[in-house]
């Protein structure tokens, strides 16, 4: 079965869509060597990310097994993960 999205490392809590995923589809997500079906509520465009498990507000977002930002709200599995619910912690002159 063709995968819809890829998580690079086992510890990642987000996966990247490698094709457009329609709303209501059960996304086939490759995580390391496993695959997991995760229903998505909204359409996810190629290149965008979805949560592979519940991510609590303030929790680190992990991709490539590395921190890429933190959640600004609770994020449900299958939910779109992007600038509306994640913030960077670097280069933030506004936080200085």
């Amino acid at each position: 079965m063709r995968r819809h999205a890829l998580a690079i490392k086992k510890e990642d809590n987000v996966a990247t869509a490698i094709r457009d995923i329609a709303a209501g589809e059960a996304a086939v997500v490759g995580i390391d060597d496993d695959t997991l079906a995760i229903p998505v509520g909204q359409a996810i465009v190629l290149g965008h990310k979805l949560a592979v498990r519940l991510i609590k507000k303030g929790e680190d977002i992990l991709k490539y097994g590395t921190v890429i930002g933190r959640a600004t709200q609770d994020i449900q599995p299958g939910e779109h993960v992007h600038v509306h619910n994640v913030e960077s912690t670097r280069g933030r002159g506004d936080l200085a």
């Binding site: 063709r2 990247t16 190629l46 290149g47 930002g69 960077s88 670097r90 933030r92 200085a96």
Partner: protein
């Protein structure tokens, strides 16, 4: 593996054989372009710098022009000066001449205006073009390749396909004795702890981390959130959420190669293998920095489809986004989108990029060269215009 290149008197190898018409100041751009358009085999390099800047920036401009003039892809150089600029034009000419390359200066104020300068410059460039056309390609080794690495107009496909594939290419290039230059220090932010582990020793790691910190402090000093500038609105549309995420994808271009040293903007590497160079991520300054550092080929990965090339260094566009490959064929040289679907391995994709580099180095033209999409260049400066 070998390729066919032009061996220069300083031992470096060109993959192209142009007469470079280099503007020494923003005010001489029109004349430099006017000369180049009338001489086959000549290319112009124009930029926005060289006057009314702080001494450190004028020094950067002078050094960048020395780097560009000594780039082995140029057989000869004509410097087009206004006559009152802050760039040290004599020093640029002397440094280029020291490599054994023919170089001449022409000044707009001395000659009596743009029209006369253009007419005289065309005759000078014609003679240089005749001499350059006598030179022949000869067999050169991959150790003579200096490959600039760039990613731009990025989306998340790059971190999964084009960049790690290019990483495989870089591993092979340095194993065969070649040189690779990775810039875009802004795009180390968030991944610098991983890149530090790839550095040859602590001293090199320290230099690299200093560049990253300096770049981040520069962004922070504006008092604004870097987001919106980096990642760019286009990056965000492509799915990249934070600079950290962008960086982790960007440094994949290095593969697992060891970082041998770190250099300031436009400095020519003194070692073989992978090196880091201070530079921002924006195309005009980054591509110019690579050329000034002596890159004879540049590989540019792009997810959303960046069109820019460079006037005298071939820039190979590699995408890992199938939509971009179908949609922007007039700017893309190759695609490795099969990697994401598992139809092609990273090793296979990396080998294909490597073959493309050798073919391009031997004379096969890139889309950016054919379309001439390479004019809007600039030199990276950090101080104010005063």
């Amino acid at each position: 593996m070998n390729f066919m290149g032009y061996r220069r008197s300083d031992g470096r190898v060109g993959t192209r054989n142009y007469v470079g018409i280099l503007s020494t100041v923003v005010c001489a751009n029109e004349v430099a372009r006017g000369i180049a358009t009338q001489v086959k085999g000549a290319v112009a390099f124009s930029h926005q710098q060289g006057c009314c800047q702080t001494p450190p920036d004028l020094e950067r401009v002078t050094k960048a022009l020395i780097g560009l003039g000594t780039n082995p892809n140029l057989a000869a150089v004509l410097l087009v000066s206004l006559g009152c600029e802050g760039t040290d034009v004599q020093r640029v000419a002397q440094a280029i001449a020291a490599t054994g390359k023919p170089v001449q200066i022409i000044g707009i104020q001395d000659e009596g205006g743009g029209a006369k300068t253009t007419a005289k410059g065309v005759l000078m460039a014609q003679q240089m073009a005749v001499e350059a056309s006598r030179l022949k390609r000869e067999e050169c080794s991959t150790a003579d390749l200096v490959v600039g690495l760039k990613c731009g107009s990025s989306d998340t496909t790059q971190g999964l396909s084009a960049n790690p594939a290019l990483g495989v290419t870089v591993e092979r290039l340095v194993a065969e004795g070649g040189t690779a230059i990775m810039g875009e220090v802004t795009e180390f932010i968030g991944g610098e702890h991983l890149l530090a582990k790839q550095c040859k020793n602590e001293a090199v790691a320290k230099k690299m981390l200093f560049f990253v910190d300096r770049m981040e402090q520069r962004a922070k000093a504006t008092g604004a959130d870097m987001r919106g500038g980096q990642p760019t609105p286009g990056n965000i549309k492509g799915g990249l959420t934070t600079i950290e995420e962008k960086s982790l994808g960007a440094i994949a271009k290095a593969g697992s190669a060891i970082v041998q040293d770190a250099y300031e903007y436009g400095e020519c590497p003194q070692v073989k293998g992978l090196v880091v160079m201070d530079s921002p991520g924006r195309e005009p300054e980054l591509l110019t920095g690579m050329a000034a550092a002596g890159a004879n080929v540049i590989v540019f990965t792009t997810g959303r489809g960046a069109p820019q090339g460079f006037p005298f260094v071939p820039v190979i566009k590699v995408t890992g986004n199938e939509k971009t490959w179908e949609h922007l064929r007039d700017h893309m040289d190759m695609s490795v989108h099969g990697v994401m679907d598992g139809d092609e391995s990273l090793v296979q994709a990396g080998s294909r990029i490597y073959e493309k580099v050798l073919e391009t180095a031997s004379g096969v033209e890139t889309k950016a060269e054919i379309s001439g999409y390479a004019q809007a260049m600039d030199i990276y400066v950090t101080g104010p215009v005063i």
